[in-house]
Symmetry: C2
Subunit: 146 residues, 2 copies
DNA sequence: GTATTCTCAACTTAAAAAGTTGACAATATG
DNA sequence: CATATTGTCAACTTTTTAAGTTGAGAATAC
C-alpha cells in the first residue's frame, strides 16, 4: 500500500499540474482543495522541492509550481520518489535494490523471479501515465465484483 | 511492500508445499530451514491453520501440512490472506474495497483507474503462479540495471 | 502419566507513519 | 526600512503497525 504521505504528494502534484503555467499556487490553497492537513503538506512540499521537482517562492504571492512540465512526470516517478521503490520486496527493486531481511540466498529464492515480473509490469503501467494525463474516472459499479 | 510476516508465511508455505504428501512437518524444522524466528512462526502457522489452508496435528510426530494441494494455492491467495489486498490503495482493492482516508470522492479520483489496472495486472501475475510451481531463480546479473 | 507438539491471547518492544511546533529566511509592498 | 506574507526545516509528539515473546493450556502418542 502507498502511505498516506505518498497519496498526498500525488494529489498535491496533480493540483500543481492542473494549474501549470498559472503562476505560484499557495500551500493553503492546495491543502484546502485536496483535503490535506496544511502543516503536513508543508513537510511534503518542502521535500518535493528539495527533490527538485517543484519550485517554491516565498513572500507575498509566493507558492509552488512544477519545476518540470507535467508531461515529464509519471506516477511511477512520484511513487519511487516518495516511497523509494515500486517493488513488493526489497530484493525485487530495480532502483533501490536491497537484500530481503532474514531471507535465504537470492540465488535460490523461489519468488524473486515472480516479484521482479510484478515490479516490471507495475512500472510499465505507472510510468505510462503522466501528470498531464487526465484519466477517465472509473464508474462506481465497475468495481463491485465484491 | 510485503510485511516480513507475509514473507515468512510464503516461505513456510513453500516449505510445506515442497514436502507435500510426506506427513506432518514440525514447526521447528520449518523455522530452521527457512530462517524464521520459531516463536513468531508459531503465530503465523496458527493463523494459516485458522484460515483452513494448513492442517495441524499436535503431540509427538505432529506438525503441519497443507490442507489443500499446492497446485490449488496461488501466491495471490497467500498475499491476500496475509495482507488483505493486492492493491496499492484501499479504494483499488477488489476483495477488501475501502474508501481511501482523506481522499476526494472516488468518482472524480484521478488515479483510481490506474490503480485498478495495476492491481488487476498484479493479480493476474500473482494468481498465475502456484505453490507447486518451481520458478527458475533469476541469475544475479539480471537485475543490475542499477 | 509424561513427553511432545501445536494453540492462543496477552504482552512487550521496536519501528514507521502521521502530524505539529516554532523559530527562521526570503520576498513584496508601502 | 518595517511589516505582512509565505515558504523552510529540524526537532518533537502522537498514533499505528509490525515484529516478536511469554506462558499457561490442550491434544496426541507411547
Amino acid at each position: 500500500m502507498l502511505s498516506q504521505k505518498t497519496r498526498y504528494a500525488i494529489r498535491a502534484m496533480q493540483h500543481l499540474a492542473d494549474h501549470y503555467g498559472q503562476g505560484p499556487i499557495q500551500l493553503a490553497q492546495i491543502a484546502e482543495a485536496q483535503n490535506i492537513p496544511a502543516k503536513f503538506l508543508t513537510t511534503i512540499l518542502s521535500e518535493l522541492s528539495r527533490f527538485g521537482i517543484v519550485d517554491s517562492q516565498r513572500g507575498k504571492d509566493g507558492g509552488y509550481r512544477l519545476a518540470v512540465s507535467p508531461i515529464d512526470i509519471t506516477y511511477g516517478d512520484l511513487i519511487r520518489l516518495m516511497r523509494g521503490s515500486l517493488a513488493l520486496v526489497p530484493c525485487a527493486s530495480r532502483f533501490a535494490h536491497e537484500k530481503c531481511k532474514n531471507c535465504l540466498e537470492e540465488e535460490n529464492c523461489r519468488t524473486r523471479a515472480l516479484m521482479l515480473e510484478v515490479r516490471d509490469r507495475t512500472a510499465e503501467l505507472l510510468d505510462g501515465v503522466r501528470l498531464s494525463d487526465r484519466i477517465d474516472p472509473v464508474p462506481a459499479q465497475a468495481d463491485s465484483q465484491n
